[in-house]
Point group: C2
Chain length 492, copies 2
Amino acid sequence: MAQLPWRRLRNPYRPIEILSDDQVEAIRDASLTILEEIGMDFLHPEALTILRAAGADVESGSQRVRFDRALIEDALVRAPSSFTLHARNPQHDLIIGGDHLCFTLVASPPNVTDIERGRRPGNFRDYCDLLRLGQSFNIVHMFGGYPVEPIDLPPESRHLDAIHAFVTLTDKVFHGYSLGRERIRDAIEMTRIARGASAEQLLQEPSLFSIVNTSSPLRLDGPMIEGIIELARHNQPVVITPFTLSGAMSPVTLAGALAQQNAEALAGLAFAQLVNPGAPVVYGGFTSNVDMKSGAPAFGTPEYVKATLAGGQLARRQGLPYRSSNANACNIVDAQAAYESQMSLWAAVMGHANIVMHAAGWLEGGLTASFEKLVIDVELLQMQAELLAPVEVNEATLGLAAIREVAPGGHFFGAAHTLERFETAFYAPMVSDWRNYESWLEAGAPDATQRANRIYKEVLAGYQPPPLDPARRDELDAFVAQRKAAGGVRAA
Amino acid sequence: MAQLPWRRLRNPYRPIEILSDDQVEAIRDASLTILEEIGMDFLHPEALTILRAAGADVESGSQRVRFDRALIEDALVRAPSSFTLHARNPQHDLIIGGDHLCFTLVASPPNVTDIERGRRPGNFRDYCDLLRLGQSFNIVHMFGGYPVEPIDLPPESRHLDAIHAFVTLTDKVFHGYSLGRERIRDAIEMTRIARGASAEQLLQEPSLFSIVNTSSPLRLDGPMIEGIIELARHNQPVVITPFTLSGAMSPVTLAGALAQQNAEALAGLAFAQLVNPGAPVVYGGFTSNVDMKSGAPAFGTPEYVKATLAGGQLARRQGLPYRSSNANACNIVDAQAAYESQMSLWAAVMGHANIVMHAAGWLEGGLTASFEKLVIDVELLQMQAELLAPVEVNEATLGLAAIREVAPGGHFFGAAHTLERFETAFYAPMVSDWRNYESWLEAGAPDATQRANRIYKEVLAGYQPPPLDPARRDELDAFVAQRKAAGGVRAA
């Protein structure tokens, strides 16, 4: 399967900015007023202790915390504007921040689908196949979580098998869920083993990241808080992403939803900085709107695009890396799935997101991972990568000699200038079918989704696991066995 | 059918610029060198006379014309940076240039398709139905040509029936083909009658436009030249669009293709200015790449996007309105059609095109007009329109009172702030289906293309012809009858 080579992407273009500087300040100011006057609930006693010690106003007998704006601002001063995220294969190390752009595989759907087998509950076999695809496609820079929830694995040890698979089937950066202290500690330890690093080295080298969603409006749950605390203490990056669906979990107005998003993100990020000043963090944006007829979440809408572009402005205002998503709300891999994804993706890329979550494979508002959508998304991501490669303008590319040679009325197919370059001049698509109608009809008239189906199976068939030091593998196996023998993570 | 109201669109955001100022100058400079040293063929004696009189270097015994760069620059100084294009319904007048954005219906495919009837040669019945849809959808601002070629009409009088249908079935701005002097004169006269205007008034009020493609590389055909001359003399806008497919009709390098595009466009536009200084003109960009394996044209590719964005920079460098397209090379209305169209459309909108040709209904690289694609494109265009509506940031939209009222852990569905706004807060989609999977399955699991099929039939069924002054209608009928009696346009 021809594909683009692995490379780190950088965005050389100016971001699309839809808010004026004044509007950014007004939204930021409102968000700080929210934190000062309304406050946010932190559902964990340790968080309340940390916040009280830092000078936040913890309402007596409750979990409501109010923040002086100076407290937020001072805490965030030390957050790095960019950092390196280390993979077990150093070739796959990533820079998060600045003009860098990283794409993740789909994360967290409960279901999985492909054409032949239809929609089914998540399971470990599909989980592993999706990991193999994420490893195989160079444009997928990292794993943003479980590409599908392997619900056939017991909950107490699921994270052990899932991370074991990340380490053995892939060599890219992966994600650990902040579902309580034990799980995230296991994830950090397995990451350390995978990298063959000491605990001290891991402290210096962020290698595991975690998405923490707030429970909007204005609430951070206990297991998530434990994740933030553990990750920040280990100097591993946390992405705080408010789930501010406008009209449901945040105001129906975009400005209001963004003000609330910014309040929740800054509160969570400031909290991580209070735990460990200077720990790597990322500003997450996930504001979209609901369908006001049904309350169903929508993605890739004009409002979603605006929120994504504005979110980038708010993150940059704070000097933080930015996370967005390639989202859609479609039930099937059709024109809607593609046009909604393109809305989301253009907004993420042109809004200068540094991490684009769910970049490949997300369907149905995140309820399903699709094998065919994954392949189609890889095509979209590769096109964005090509778009970000700057245009070369010089004597050779201006091609006046070729234009002179061909002369008015001629054609360039046979020109030396063409022949020297034609093999690499243009992006060669993976899914797109440019045959003429008759040839395409004769070939069975396959649509893009059917072609994507063929491609994913071809890529899976050609998958080779990346090499892993046997000593690390043994240590990893032993760790998993020992943790399973101890009963894994007990239910709360 | 719920849709956005008619409105003129303006783009409040800064364009995406992928070339540095130096690169723009280098490409422009190369284009002027092409015109100085290589020259361009003008295949019409009248053009050669006009150009020679203006001081261009017409090669003896040939049609090759070379231009001193000062001649090009001086000629273009008088071209307006924007102008009003008058429709027969003044509500549908358009401004072309500046930050204005206009969408046209698909133009010129030889075939037409829909789900039930399949792909078939263009015909007058489908032609009229496509006009009815273009009239019905408010987001379609104008007609860019015949939405499908009505090949069942005899060529000598086809333009008479086709324009008669524009005038009677629609009241928006339309296009006349520059296929020789007689046809474009007929189109101008029918436009005059439709508007109930005098010849003098029409001279002051541009009301008919025409796309003129160069025959790349570096050639302008006779019938097109006659169109330019007639339109410029009547002060009606000409859009000069080089058809510079990179690797076939222009260099395989983007910089070279753009240099050639700019050369051809500037030569054609300067020629129009020499015919009538100050006549309204538009800079057209249509540079894309071919599939180097087959030579087939590709659209919506990364190269296409770059050419579109760069084309906008070149047009603005010259102070001219800019025309681009919503193009794709797909054979069917599937995910590919949607993702390629989104690439083209985002580039056109963010590259600040003033006219987006083929904005609704183009399929198969322009070989087919699709009823379903038309509807899906309308959805894409409406989403762009919503995206261009600036975010409102003020006390009411920041919604602090609502956030206070809902409080941490609540929800906004029932908040007064939500209830006051929910009916108009978000874009209400036409095609997109946001039902949950189970409801969607129960409804027969229709894909976006099937939903679009239903919608186009519904809109056609509800079509009402716009009112037309009976006197104008009579005059128009009489003109067509008289021209047909005279044999129409005789074959060359």
